[in-house]
C-alpha cells in the first residue's frame, strides 16, 4: 500500500514538472501582469486610415493579443499628414502609462528625421516587439507596350527613352527614394506620377494610366491572381517565398543598396514603467508566436525578417536600420 502511494505521488510529481506539462502562453503571460494593470482598455494606435495595410496588421495583432491576455484592446486610428499627426501624438502627447501602444511602421524614421524639425526623435518611442516586414515590389501591367519585359529591360528602355515610362510614386518616401537610386545608378529617367498611396498607383496601372506601379503584395494580390499585373522585382535582400520567380533588385543590378522595406513593430512612449512595458512586450511577442496569426500574416504577403525576429536587442537592431536610412538621406542631400 505504501508503495502504491509513493508511486502515485511520483506519477503526479512527474506530470506536473515542466517537462511533462504543456506551457500555456496565456498562463505565462498572466504571471507577468503587473498589479492594477490594466484597469481600462489599452489603445493600439495606428497612424493610417482604417482598412489599409497597417490597420489590417494591427487589428489582427490586437485580436490575438486580446485572446492571449484577456485584456480589452481598442484599435484607434489617429490619421492625418501621411502618418505625421499620429507619430507626433505618440512621441509627444501620449501618456507613458502603458495604456498606449503604437503599432507603427519604419516610415516613422523618415518623419522623425526629415519632418519633425527637432520636436521629437524616433528614440522617443521604445520598440517592444517586432511584427512583420513588407518589401516594396515593382509591378507592371500584363497589357500595354511593356508587357513581358523584365526589370532590366524596362530600366534600359527608360534610359533610351527618358521621361516616357510612367511610374506611380508616393512623394516623400521610399517610393521616390528607390527611383532616385535607380536613376542615379543607371542613367535612366522615369516619369513620376504622384499618388496618395501605393494602392491608388496600382489602380492607375490597371486602368492604363501608368506603366509601372509600386506597392506591397497585399495591395495587388487580387490582381495578380486575376492575371492583370506582372511582378517585376522586389527591394529586399532575398526572394520572397510567395513569388519565387521574381528577382530582387539587388540580383538584377548586382548591387546591395536596393533595400526598401516597411518594418512594422510595436512601440510604447518613452518613460512607460518597466513592468508594464515588459508585460506589453511579452503579450505582443507571445501573439507573434501564435500560429494562426503567422498564417494570416503570410496570406498578406508579409515576411519575417530573421534578424529582427531573433533579435536580442530590438531597439539596437532597428536603430541600425534607421541609420542606413539616415545615411541615404545625407548622401542625397535631404539631411545635413
Amino acid at each position: 500500500m505504501k508503495w502504491a502511494g509513493i508511486a502515485y505521488a511520483l506519477v503526479i510529481a512527474l506530470l506536473s514538472t515542466p517537462a511533462g506539462a504543456q506551457s500555456d502562453p496565456k498562463a505565462e503571460l498572466a504571471k507577468l501582469k503587473p498589479k492594477d494593470f490594466p484597469t481600462q482598455p489599452i489603445e493600439f494606435t495606428v497612424v493610417y486610415p482604417a482598412g489599409g495595410g497597417m490597420d489590417v496588421s494591427a487589428r489582427l495583432l490586437a485580436k490575438t493579443v486580446e485572446n492571449l491576455s484577456g485584456d480589452r484592446i481598442i484599435v484607434n486610428n489617429r490619421t492625418g499628414g501621411a502618418g505625421m499627426v499620429g507619430h507626433s501624438y505618440l512621441a509627444t502627447q501620449a501618456k507613458p502609462d502603458g495604456y498606449t501602444v503604437g503599432v507603427i511602421a519604419s516610415l516613422l524614421w523618415g518623419d522623425a528625421m526629415l519632418r519633425a524639425q527637432g520636436r521629437w526623435a524616433y528614440t522617443d518611442l521604445e520598440p517592444i516587439a517586432y511584427v512583420n516586414s513588407d518589401a516594396l515590389i515593382w509591378v507592371g501591367s500584363t497589357e500595354g507596350p511593356y508587357k513581358g519585359m523584365s526589370i532590366k529591360d524596362i530600366v534600359n528602355a527608360a534610359k533610351e527613352k527618358p521621361n516616357t515610362i510612367r511610374v506611380a510614386i508616393v512623394p516623400g518616401s521610399m517610393w521616390e527614394y528607390i527611383l532616385d537610386q535607380i536613376e542615379a545608378n543607371s542613367g535612366a529617367k522615369f516619369l513620376r506620377v504622384p499618388f496618395q498611396g501605393g494602392g491608388a498607383g496600382i489602380t492607375a496601372l490597371i486602368g492604363g494610366n501608368v506603366d509601372i506601379a509600386q506597392g506591397f503584395f497585399s495591395e495587388f494580390r487580387g490582381y495578380l491572381e486575376g492575371g492583370k499585373v506582372a511582378p517585376l522585382a522586389v527591394a529586399s535582400g532575398s526572394r520572397m517565398d510567395f513569388l519565387k520567380d521574381m528577382p530582387t533588385f539587388n540580383e538584377a543590378f548586382g548591387s546591395n543598396e536596393y533595400l526598401w522595406q516597411l518594418v512594422r513593430y510595436a512601440v510604447v512612449p518613452k518613460g512607460t514603467p518597466a513592468d508594464r512595458k515588459a508585460y506589453l512586450a511579452a503579450a505582443v511577442q507571445a501573439a507573434m508566436k501564435d500560429p494562426e496569426l503567422i498564417a494570416e500574416y503570410r496570406k498578406q504577403g508579409v515576411f519575417f525578417d530573421p534578424k529582427l525576429q531573433n533579435s536580442k536587442d530590438l531597439a539596437a537592431d532597428l536603430n541600425a536600420y534607421a541609420d542606413v536610412e539616415r545615411q541615404f538621406y545625407v548622401k542625397t542631400g535631404r539631411l545635413k
Binding site: 482604417a50 499627426v85 516619369l191
Partner: protein, 496 residues
C-alpha cells in the same frame, strides 16, 4: 441569366436567421448612427469592425454594408428636424427639409426622404445585380484627366446652387479651396499653410467643418432668439406626403438615383458629392428655382435618393475590382482582407456566395430600413415638441462627440468651434455656406488630378482634350457655365 442565378444563390445565403438578424442589426445601427450628428458610417464601421471577427465573412460584411446605407436613411432626420446634418451627405437636406419642418411639414419631408432612399437604394442594387462587372471595367479606366474634368463639372454645378449673391458664393468657393489646401500637398509632399503645426499638417477635417458650419452655427442662431418655450415647429400638419408631394418628387427621386449611382462609382465621389450634385441639378431644372431653400420638396427627394444609390455605386468598384473609392469602402475592403478574403477581379468568380450574398442583403436591407424609418416618422416628429432649451445642450454634446469621433483629436473641436462662430457670423451677413463645403470637398481632388494629368501626359494640357470622356465633361462644364451666366443676368438684371 447569370445574374439571376447569382441572385438566387445570394438569397439562399442570406435567408438564414443569423444573417437576416445581422442585416437588421446593421440597418438599425446605421439608422441610429445616421441620426446622431457627426457620427457617420465611417466612425461606426471603424468601431464595429472588431465585432465582425467573430462572425462569418458573409455575416460580417452584410452587417457592415447595411450600416453604410442605413446611415444614409437616418442622416436626413436631424437635418430635417434640427437643421443639423446627421452626417456630411445630409447637409443638403437641411436647406429645404428643415424649412418644411418649420412649416409643420416635417412628416412629409421625413416620409419622402425615407421612401426616396428606398427607391434609390433598390434601383441601385438592381443595376449592381445586372451590370456590376461591365461597369467596373469602365470605371477602372477613369484616370486623372477624367477625374479632373468631373471635378470641374462638379464645381460648375455648384455655381448653380448658389442662393443669393453670386459674388459672395464665388468668394465662399474660393475660401473652400483655400481651406482645403491646408495640410500636405499630395503631389509633392510639401506642407502648405501649416505654419509648423502638426495638427494642421493633417489638413482640416471635413466633419469638423460641416458640424461647425451647419450644426454649431445653427445652435448659436437658435439660442440667440430663444424664448423659454421655443419649439421648432408650432404645429404639425399631417404626417404623410400628399399627392402633390408625390407628383413633385417622383422625378427628382429617379434623377437622384441615377446621378447618385454614377457619382458613387468614381473615386472622390460617393454620397456627399452625390447629394450636393443632385440638389444643384434639381434647382437648375426646376420651374421655379426660387422655391429652393424655402421648403421645396424636390430639394429633399433628389439628394436623399442620390446619397443612397451612391452607396450601391461605390460598392461596385470595391467588390468587383477591389478598389475603394472612398474611406468607407476602404474600410469594407480592410474588413474583407482581415477575414482572409482578397477582393479583386476574381472575387465574384471565387466567392459567389459572398458577393451575391451582399447584393441580396441589400435588397432586404432596404426593405428593413423602409419598415424601420417610416413608422419612426411619427416618433421623430414628436421630438419637435421638446422645448429647445432642454434639447440643445444634449445636441451640442452629441455634436462634440460626433466631431471627436473622426480623428480622436481635440484639435478638431477647436476647428468645429471656429467654423461654428464663423458660420454664424457669415449667415448673419447673408453668405451661403454650401458652396464653401462643396469646394472644400472637390478642390483637392481637382488640383491633384490636374497636376497628375500634366505630369503623366507627354503633351501637357492636351491630354485633357485627347481623352474622350474628359473632353466631353469639360465641354459640358463650359456649356453649363455659359447657360448659368445667361440665366443669372436675365433673371437678376446683373450679377448681384
Amino acid at each position: 441569366m447569370e445574374a439571376v442565378n447569382g441572385l438566387l444563390t445570394g438569397f439562399g445565403v442570406i435567408l438564414t436567421p443569423s444573417n437576416l438578424y445581422l442585416c437588421f442589426l446593421g440597418s438599425l445601427i446605421g439608422t441610429l448612427v445616421g441620426v446622431l450628428p457627426g457620427v457617420g458610417p465611417l466612425a461606426a464601421l471603424a468601431l464595429l469592425l472588431p465585432v465582425t471577427f467573430t462572425l462569418s465573412p458573409v455575416g460580417g460584411l452584410v452587417m457592415l454594408s447595411s450600416i453604410f446605407y442605413g446611415a444614409m436613411y437616418g442622416g436626413s432626420t436631424t437635418s430635417i428636424l434640427l437643421n443639423i446634418p446627421g452626417e456630411a451627405a445630409s447637409v443638403v437636406t437641411c436647406f429645404d427639409g428643415h424649412q418644411m419642418a418649420r412649416q409643420g411639414r416635417a412628416g412629409p419631408a421625413l416620409g419622402i426622404a425615407a421612401i426616396g432612399s428606398f427607391i434609390a437604394g433598390t434601383l441601385g442594387v438592381i443595376i449592381m445585380t445586372f451590370f456590376a462587372p461591365a461597369i467596373a471595367a469602365v470605371a477602372i479606366r477613369f484616370g486623372p484627366p477624367e477625374n479632373f474634368a468631373l471635378m470641374v463639372l462638379g464645381l460648375v454645378c455648384t455655381l448653380f446652387m448658389i442662393s443669393g449673391s453670386t459674388i459672395k458664393g464665388v468668394l465662399m468657393m474660393a475660401l473652400g479651396c483655400l481651406t482645403a489646401a491646408v495640410g500636405l500637398d499630395v503631389v509633392n509632399g510639401r506642407e502648405r499653410y501649416t505654419f509648423g503645426s502638426v495638427d494642421l499638417s493633417g489638413g482640416i477635417e471635413l466633419l469638423a467643418v460641416v458640424i461647425g458650419l451647419f450644426g454649431i452655427a445653427e445652435i448659436l442662431s437658435n439660442v440667440e432668439t430663444m424664448a423659454k418655450t421655443t419649439l421648432l415647429a408650432d404645429r404639425i400638419r399631417g404626417l404623410w406626403p400628399t399627392l402633390a408631394d408625390w407628383r413633385a418628387s417622383w422625378r427628382p427621386i429617379l434623377r437622384g438615383s441615377g446621378l447618385g449611382f454614377l457619382l458613387g462609382l468614381v473615386p472622390g465621389g460617393g454620397p456627399v458629392t452625390a447629394a450636393f450634385m443632385s440638389y444643384a441639378l434639381e434647382k437648375r431644372i426646376a420651374a421655379q428655382p426660387e422655391r429652393f431653400g424655402k421648403g421645396a420638396i424636390e430639394g429633399v427627394a433628389g439628394p436623399e435618393s442620390a446619397n443612397n444609390s451612391a452607396v450601391a455605386g461605390s460598392l461596385i468598384p470595391v467588390l468587383s475590382l477591389g478598389i475603394p473609392s472612398n474611406p468607407v469602402t476602404a474600410l469594407l475592403l480592410g474588413a474583407l482582407i482581415i477575414q482572409g478574403i482578397q477582393p479583386g477581379p476574381l472575387f465574384i468568380a471565387q466567392r459567389p456566395d459572398l458577393f451575391w450574398g451582399i447584393v441580396a442583403s441589400m435588397y432586404i436591407g432596404n426593405v428593413f430600413l423602409l419598415l424601420l424609418n417610416l413608422p419612426l416618422v411619427g416618433l421623430w416628429v414628436q421630438f419637435l415638441r421638446i422645448p429647445y432649451r432642454v434639447m440643445f445642450p444634449v445636441v451640442l454634446l452629441l455634436c462634440v462627440v460626433g466631431t471627436y469621433s473622426a480623428n480622436k483629436n481635440v484639435f478638431d473641436l477647436w476647428v468645429m468651434l471656429g467654423f461654428g462662430v464663423g458660420g454664424y457670423v457669415l449667415r448673419k451677413l447673408e453668405y451661403d455656406l454650401a458652396p464653401f463645403v462643396i469646394a472644400f470637398v472637390l478642390a483637392p481632388l481637382l488640383e491633384q488630378s490636374l497636376r497628375q494629368s500634366l505630369v503623366m501626359s507627354p503633351d501637357g494640357a492636351m491630354i485633357l482634350i485627347k481623352r474622350p470622356v474628359a473632353a466631353v465633361l469639360l465641354a459640358a462644364s463650359a456649356v453649363l457655365t455659359y447657360l448659368m451666366f445667361r440665366r443669372r443676368t436675365k433673371n437678376e438684371g446683373g450679377l448681384s
